[in-house]
Structure formats: C-alpha cells, structure tokens
Amino acid sequence: MIYLFYLLVYGFLLTAALGLFASWVDRKVTARVQYRIGPPLLQPLIDIVKLMGKETLIPRGASRNTFLLSPVAGLSSVILASALLWVVGLRPGDGFLGDWIVAIYLLTIPSISIIVGGFASGNPLASLGSSREMKLVLAYELPFVLAALVPVIRAGLILRLGDIVVAQQIAGATATSLSGIIALIVAILCVQAKLALVPFDIPEAETEIIHGPLVDYSGSSLALYRLMKNMLLFTLPFFLVILYLGGIRLTGIHILWSVLKYLVLVAIITVIRNTNPRVRIDQALRFFWGPVTILSVIAVVLAVLGL
C-alpha cells in the first residue's frame, strides 16, 4: 500500500507538479535572458491540459498501437523512476539492492519510447529524428553510467541508492571530492542530452526536422510526451542530487538546502541551453565518445584511488 502511495502521490502527482514548475522556471529564465517577458506560472500546465482536449490524429501508415503506446511507456517509466528516487530520497533505508541499476534503466526508457514512437509514425522526418536520438543514446549512455559509478565506488561498491545517500551524509557529498566533481560535470552534460536540450537537441531540431520523432504526434499523446519531458526535468536533476550532492532531507533548514541544490542544477541546465547553438549529430557523438568518456574514466579511476 505504501508503495502505491509513493507511486501515485510522489512518483506522479508531486513529480508532475515539480516538473511543470521546473519547466516554468526554465522557460521564464530563458525568456528573461532573451529580453522577453515569459509565460505565467501555470502555462506549462495549461499547455498540457489544452493538448489533452485536442484531437489525437494517427497518421496513415503509422503502426497504430506502437504509436499510441510509446508515450504511455515513456511516461510510466518516468513515474516509476521518480517513485523509486523519492523512496530513496525520503527514506534511504527503504531501497533495495540494485536500485541504482533500475533507476538508470528506467531513465533510459523515455528516450527509447521517443525512438520507437518516431519510427512508428512512419514519417521520414520522424525516422530521421529517431535515428538521431538512437545515436545520441549510444553516445551519452556510457559516460553517464561511468559517471554514476563514481558515487557507488565511493560508497564502498554497493549498488543501493539508499546507501549512497547515507555514505554521503557521513563522509560528505560526492561532489566534494575531485572524482565527484568530474563525474558531476559529465553527468550534467549527459542529462542535457537526455533532456534533448540545446546544444544536444539534435533529435528534435525544430528548424531542421520540425521536432523529429514528435512531428506527427498530436492531442493527448503529445500531451503525454510533454508531461514526460517536464517530469524528466525534475527527475534527472533529482537523480544527480541523490548521486552527487548528498540527497535531500525534508527537515528544518535542510528543506531550503535541498531545494537550492536542485534549483542550481536546473539553472546550470538552462544556462547551457541558452548560451550555445545546436551541434551536429556527428559532433555530439565525437564529443561524448571522446572528451566526455575520457573524463568519466578518469573520474572512475580517481574514485578507485580514493580521491
């Protein structure tokens, strides 16, 4: 029962609310940077609700079930992952051995769902976007996993997120060490790509392939994708907070501290996305397989050496 509660209230409702808020922060900050006024607080929610009420069109030649189910799969995995992270964040003792693997796995599914959905729509632009997304997933997944390995090593090679949080509460956050800092930088870059934000919004590239995989989505299925992306904007930084910044604690002054850690991460992501043009897919591949992977390997080696 308690798990159902976590799933619905924390995993879905709270994450959705915070994700929509994060998306508003992102849009507002972006707007202010660009001398615009920006949307009102409820705009992300209004967008979703409006889309929900629109007609869902299924293109001729699309594989109907896959087309409609992939946003559901993506959204469900985000909800599951968020519920898992909330459990770990609020009650570190309640995790299970290997939840680190499950979290990383669940956080990959949204990208996969976008790939599958894009291919299912049968649109050439969507296929192009999907193949780009596929290449991008192949590019950032390795450094992301390596970077996520650093806190595991520092916590004594235990693949349990709860223990990672506890270890950080005892020995200081992962990011206070050299290996932790490097890993955090790598992870932020990977998160940028996972969120498909500039400079890694290559799969969606509005001015090239008109939102790529999502080009044929409309109505409620598009709303699900939008909600999924907004929730990811909360879940991924939250994951980083757990891995590198000592998790969250909802008592006393720690509440402020937790919110601050999260907002700083969102701010970094927003700043990166507003100060860069989009790179090409081959450049992104070279970037992730080259310098970023090397950095993450260095971080792992340093972590093993205890630095």
């Binding site: 001398y35 296929s127 001015t207 090239e208 043009p277 989009r278 090409r280 897919i281």
Partner: protein, 395 residues
C-alpha cells in the same frame, strides 16, 4: 545505403516563406537537392504595368517587406535612366541613408534568424532587439518601420528634418557597441565555429560560375558590389570599405554581413553629418518614350530593374530581377555532400528571399507556355468541380 527524400517545405519552420526543397539523402548526407519555388507568385510586374510611374513605386515596394527600399530605389533609377536625368543632391543623400538603414535592419534580421536556425535562440532575440533601434530610427526618418515610401522618380517623397538628425544618429550609433560585442562573440565561440566553419563552401570559381551576388559572392572572395563597381547616389564620395572574405563558408557569410553593418553605420553617419540643403525632388512631369535600367546593391546583392516607356504615364514593360534569383542555384554547389543539419543553415546562408524572386511562368522544354492565367482559372474550376463531386454536393 537506401535513399530517402527529406522535404523542407512548402511549409517548414526553417523559413517564413513557402518554398520547397527536396533533399535526397543517404542517412544524414545530402546527395542531391531540388528546389521548387513559385508558391508566392503575385504578378507584380503586370500590376506595375497597370499603374502610372508614381504609383508603381508603391507596388514595387511591396515586392519584399525587407528589401522594401531596394526595389523602389532600383525602379526609380531605371525611370530616371529613361530621360536620363539627375536627382537633387539632398535627395541622393537621403536615398543613401534610407538604403543603408535598410541594409542594417535586413542583415540584423538575417543574423537573428541564422542564430535561430542553429538553435541559438538567445542570439535570435538579442539581435532582433537590437534591430528595434534601427527600425525606430527609420520610423523617425520616414514615419514607417518598414515599407518607407520615401522614393519617387526624380527624388524622395519626404525630407529629413534637421531636428531629427541627432536622435537618428544616436539610435544608429547605439547599435555599434552591441554589434562589436556580437562580432567578437561570433569570432570566438568554438561551437559556432564548429557549426559554420568549412560548412557549405562556395568556392570563388563556383561563385563566378553561378554569378552569385552580394554578401554571398563577397564571402567567396569575389569583390562584387554595385556601390563600388558602378557607384550611384553618393557612395563614391564617402569613405567606406567593401568587405570581402575568402573562404566562402557559412561563417564567412556571417562575418561579411556583421562587418557590412558596421560600414553601413559609418555611411549613415557621414551622410547625416554632411546632408546638403536644397530641393529633394526634381519634379519630373512626363516620362519620355524609351527604356532604362537601374541597378543597386540591395542587402542580398544586386537588384536590377528594367523599365520601358512609350511616352504615356505608365511603364509598358517592367522587369525585376532580385538577387536571390542568382544566389538560389548556388545550393547545388554548396549543399550536396553536407549533412541535413548543415543543409538548413546553408540554405539560409544566402539570405534567400523568395517573394522577391518569384515571377515565373511554367514552360515546357520547347519553350511553349504551359499555363497562363486563363489556364490556371480553368484548372481551378475543374478542381472545384471534382471536389464537389467527391464530397457529394452534386453539380
């Protein structure tokens, strides 16, 4: 690898106007490109032949919202060439000021859009904010932000008030600081370099072969600028430099435009400070029979107008050639072999203007006209009839 066709257009967020590029791609690489335009044809030349010489200026101005001074400028020069006659000094200066103001706002518009195409929306918004200053200055001068309606055969329609000059000067000069900051930012940004350097190279030979014009040719090392080659208005009396770079890639096209804006500021300043007194209009009465050509350097390259008069108050023939008409085919040389991501910025790099270009007719290989106005009406009626049948409305 299998070939796919990726459509860009007729409606695509890349560009504001309807146009259709069909990119044949292998994976991400473009192996062939086909360009179709003609979605925007409005029959402006014909319209112009039905107006008198004065009214035509206003019609011509509406060929393009961005080159809204270049076309009237070339047209009025073509009409004046029929006499031939000279316009008053003050009018020449005012014409130069308006034309250069237009160049700045057009280049800024393009620079912002280029940022947008690269996904760099911050540049897009910043540059367009900067453009507001120029539009404000133009509004002080002409009363309009775009479509200035300043030109008329024989002079200009509206004088510049002495009291406005300091305001205009301040506004125009206020963009210099930001422009220089942008110039340095573009020159230094490694990610912009990665996206634009060596991309879509138009070599000097190809540029000459395609007769590319304006910034497109100047970025390829071809020093071609009507303002220098065949000076008009007061360009030969002012101190300014033609910007020429050698590489012909997208980066150079950006650089040429940014530096040209700084030159334009220089020109406007010199004109405003040395504005002579006197008449602004030669008050021409009747246009004699004959023909005239006018060509000027529009922001995108040379705009060419041909006007023939039979002594009545209307042009009997008016031909317009916009710079994009010459720059458009360079796609064949620049896009093939690049990736789709680059194709979009390369397509945008010539600063295409389709509504300027579109005055075409459909002909078959023997030169016979396939569709004329009557044919199009007939086709449209047939289609309506067919649709009515299909939808079951009866006939």
């Amino acid at each position: 690898m299998g070939r796919t066709i990726v459509p860009i257009g007729p409606y695509h967020p890349l560009q504001e106007e309807p146009e259709f590029f069909s990119l044949t791609v292998e994976g991400e690489r473009v192996v062939d490109i086909d360009v179709r335009i003609g979605y925007n044809h409005r029959g402006i030349e014909k319209l112009s032949e039905r107006k008198n010489f004065d009214q035509s200026t206003f019609v011509i101005e509406r060929i393009c919202g961005i080159c809204s001074t270049s076309h009237p400028f070339a047209y009025t020069r073509a009409v004046e060439d029929i006499f031939p006659m000279d316009v008053p000094e003050r009018a020449k200066y005012i014409r130069t000021i308006i034309a250069e103001g237009e160049r700045i706002h057009s280049h800024l518009l393009w620079l912002g859009l280029a940022g947008h195409f690269l996904g760099y929306n911050t540049v897009y918004m910043w540059v367009w904010k900067l453009r507001e200053e120029i539009l404000d200055a133009m509004e002080i001068l002409s009363g309009n932000r775009n479509n200035y309606a300043m030109f008329k055969p024989g002079g200009v329609r509206r004088d510049i008030k002495e009291s406005d000059i300091p305001d205009v000067l301040r506004k125009v000069e206020s963009i210099v600081g930001t422009l220089e900051m942008l110039r340095d930012a573009i020159m230094d940004d490694p990610v912009i370099h990665a996206r634009t350097k060596g991309v879509g190279v138009l070599t000097k030979e190809k540029s000459i072969e395609f007769s590319a014009l304006g910034p497109t040719s100047r970025a390829s090392g071809v020093a071609r600028d009507v303002r220098k080659d065949s000076p008009y208005a007061v360009y030969d009396r002012l101190d300014w430099d033609m910007i020429v770079t050698q590489n012909g890639d997208v980066f150079d096209k950006v650089v040429v435009r940014v530096l040209e804006m700084l030159e334009s500021v220089k020109i406007i300043r010199a004109c405003l400070l040395n504005l002579p007194g006197g008449e602004i209009d030669a008050k021409i009465k009747n246009v004699p029979p004959g023909e005239g050509v006018g060509h000027i350097e529009a922001p995108r390259g040379e705009t060419f107008h041909y006007v023939r008069s039979d002594g009545t108050n209307r042009p009997v023939r008016h031909k317009v050639r916009a710079p994009t008409f010459m720059n458009l085919p360079t796609y064949k040389a620049t896009v093939v072999g690049e990736t789709i991501s680059d194709a979009t910025i390369i397509l945008a790099a010539i600063d295409p203007c389709y509504c300027c270009t579109e005055r075409m007719a459909v002909r078959d290989v023997d030169g016979a006209r396939l569709y004329d106005g009557q044919d199009l009406i007939r086709l449209s009626q047939l289609k309506t009839e067919r649709l009515r049948k299909e939808l079951g409305f009866g006939s």
